[in-house]
Amino acid sequence: MKSFLSLMLGLALVTPLTHVANADEAADRGLAIATDRKQRDAGWNNSESAVTMTLRNAQGEESVRKIRSKSLEVADDGDKGLTIFDEPRDVKGTAFLNFSHIGKPDDQWLYLPALKRVKRIASRNKSGPFMGSEFAYEDMSSFELDKYSFRYLGDETVAGHDCYKVEQTPLDKFSGYTRQVVWLDKDELRVHKIDFYDRKKSLLKTLTLTDHQLYKERYWRAHTATMVNHQTGKSTVLQTEDIRFDTGLTDDDFNQTTLQRAR
């Protein structure tokens, strides 16, 4: 899985702006904010983290998933990620390798320890639920400017922060959303809240990000991400336990061989 971190605030080198210049001021302003957000997070290089997901349904049933992920920042393309599943027990040792791309399907491999084989997944789909949670795979992949068109909607206060409200419309036709509305604080451009709108343009989910912490004196990471599905009453809390930067990961740590050895 691509870096979870990027969900909380993505980054990477700013790809050259290929957007057609939009006369619309709102679009320019939206893009400017998004670009600033991306630039501020660029250069984080690589990281490792441990994440606990807690799923709840309308009945109040709960279920916990535990994963670890390694992420590598890639210039000029989406990031690379290696995700190791620890819980539930039945999938322990399963590992997922992902090369995220802009404008074409990601490359994905899964190592199944029970089968002792690596399987490549050929699928355009990235909108399905990740491990049965309320997070879609696409919600968790890195923030890239070329994935969306932007529009600045105004200023609003969220959780005490003076925020920009920016609409981002996915450009990938396989996205599960028609649009997202993002609230980022003006001080640090940290994302605090995202509303996701489904194909019929109804509000589907709301993501709330809290417990932002600063790393390497530059990179903000939210440690708690809560996704609530308004249509089904289900929710998922994604708790990042531990993030370490500059752990010495290189491109050689992200291939099918390392996938099989990942523990």
Partner: protein, 779 residues
Amino acid sequence: MKNLWLVSVLKHPWKMLVVLLALIMLASAGAGNLYFRGDYKVFFDKHYQPLADFEEMQRIFNKNDNVSVLVVPDEGTVFNQKTLTLLAELTIEAWQTPYSSRVDSVTNFQHTWAEGDDMIVEDLVLDAEALTAEDIARVREVALNEPNLAGGLVAEDGSAAAVNITVQIPDSADNTPQVAEVISSVNALTDRLAQAYPGYSFYHTGVVPMNYAFATEGQKDMNTLVPAMLGLIVLMLAVLMRSLLAMLATVFVLVVTITVTMGTGGWLGYFLSTGTINVPIVVMTLAVADCVHLIASMQFAMREGKERKEALRFAIDLNLMPIFITSATTAIGFMTLMLSESPVLADFGELSAIGVMIAFAFSVTLLPVLLAILPIKVKAAPEHDGSMERLGRWVVKRHKILLPVSSVIMIALGSLITLNEINDEATKYFAPGTHFRDSVDALEEHISGTQTIDWAIYSGTSQGVNDPQFIATIDGFAKWLRLQPEVDHVTTLSDTFKRLNKNMHGDDETFYRTPMDRELAAQYLLLYEMSLPYGLDLNNQLNVDKSSTRLTSTLKNIGSRETVELEQRARAWFAENAPQYRMTGASPGLMFSHIGETNMDSMIISMIAALILISGLLVFALRSLHLGLISLIPNLGPALVGFGVWGVISGEINLGLSIVASMTLGIIVDDTVHFLAKYKRARDNGKDAEAAVKYAFSSVGRALMITTLVLVIGFSMLAFSAFRLNSDMGLATALIIFIALLVDFFFLPAFLLLLDKKEKAAVESPKPITTNTLTGESV
């Protein structure tokens, strides 16, 4: 007290009218608080176990209320480019349906296959317009061999396909507007596609269209049949009472009774539903009877030469007690519906009981006031020898033959009651010709029935669905279900496991079996879930900690009894084969089946209770144990005979029919009480049994005939309803009311004559006559 009231009515009618009108306006204003709930859940108490099971399942998995759009090509199969293009477009556009969370069809089915160590997950029809003949052959091959599709979303002979739209309508007191919103969106879509693609028929089935049909078909009657019924009743009243003014007075009382009843209902917090929407009709029925009795008595007295006000006084004096008794007994009959398992039936009973008492109140206040004011004229004809007098004489003359003949007929027809079967088939509530019923029939012809039962199997342990034993159990259960004659289609996770196992082994058919290893199963699911798109995930089949799964079975269109039996057999299968797992079955259809069964049981018990209560009340009111006991036969007989005849013409007792017994009991008792009261009055005045019977015929016979004709014709109108709950109810009610009149005209007098002759014989002995012990007075 009675005199004071009589004086105020007769001496100061205008003052009374003003007071009454003020009260009427105040009470009627409550109607503004009424709102309509059209959804099927109104039939169930929120603590009703089958509903609780259903709602638990909906909270654990997602809700699966749906609209299923059936597409039938006029000729050929769905496996050609044009139809697949149509289905693909319908599938994509269906996502625009309000509240939709999932759209499943043959085109967006997530087809998986293996290429070496690649696992490919793709829409079965990815780009319909670019399909080659080869692609179409492949689509056909996959679709007809995939258990999730064949017989579910595509006909096994390829003659039709369905697109299933799952909606998550938010929980609220009234979902009627949301249901209408969904339906109008889907209708607009299929109308547009029908234009763009000629040569196809589109049908809509599923829970949401069923809900919509419930809401609209019931209301359609309100706009067409009910006004027709009212018009007919008004016309009949004018003709039969031979007085325009009397008719106008009656109609005014009817209208006021209905508005005050519904207004009071509004003040008390009732709401309109498929059940309570019938209250106005019922209340009107009984108000008609009350008014006709009073007016007929007044006309009777005027014909005998009494002046109008005097005749009115006579009519009130004669009828006050019988009208009160019949109203009270009818109210008791309705209150027995409070024991119904179904809250709308209980509401219907309560509100009708209130309405009946309101009808009583107005027929002895408002009606006399109107009669006192209106210049009603009747020609005096003291020696009047009408048809009723002739009928009375004929009955007295023939009573020795009438009694055995009518008894035999009653017993013979009554014994046919066993031909009835309690059967609720919600889809058959709607007549052929309604869009919903035609859709149900089309779906049945091409793919499957419409009823479903969902089965939740709870392993009890987290990730328990990955346990090979659990998977083997659900696979075994699915196999068992597929063998049941009632079952058309089964969707089960075990099929997905088998397919993935095959894919993971290079599409080797020999691996099309459930995985033998727990970790393997879990990892397959993980892999599969990661590659599914939005809305096509497994969350409708799996709960969050993967301890439980939901199987969906589509049934043939069967009745409630068979549905309940299937559920019981399924439970038995689990008890025998997998007692370690908890299993529940639920669906709207299953809930209707259960409530049809349990409701009928409680209805029968409450009817018996009502009859005992009513007869007790009659003993008290007629001040005669003897007459009270006699009244049991004409009170019980018509319903028995009526349901016996029903056994011949239909034989199906549904939820709508279960209220008929309670509803008609009022009118039946009404007839009996009026007849017996007049009979007793004559006896108390020293007349013998024969003269008393003749008196009863001449004084009340006409009123009984008018009420019966008016109501029978009125209720017969409802038989034309396309909504079977209404048409069956109308037909059965008309039938029973008519039979009640026959029983009171032919059996009851003959029976009275027989019994009282025996008594006469007994008089010769020292035993005193029972009637002498009664304190005469008017009843």
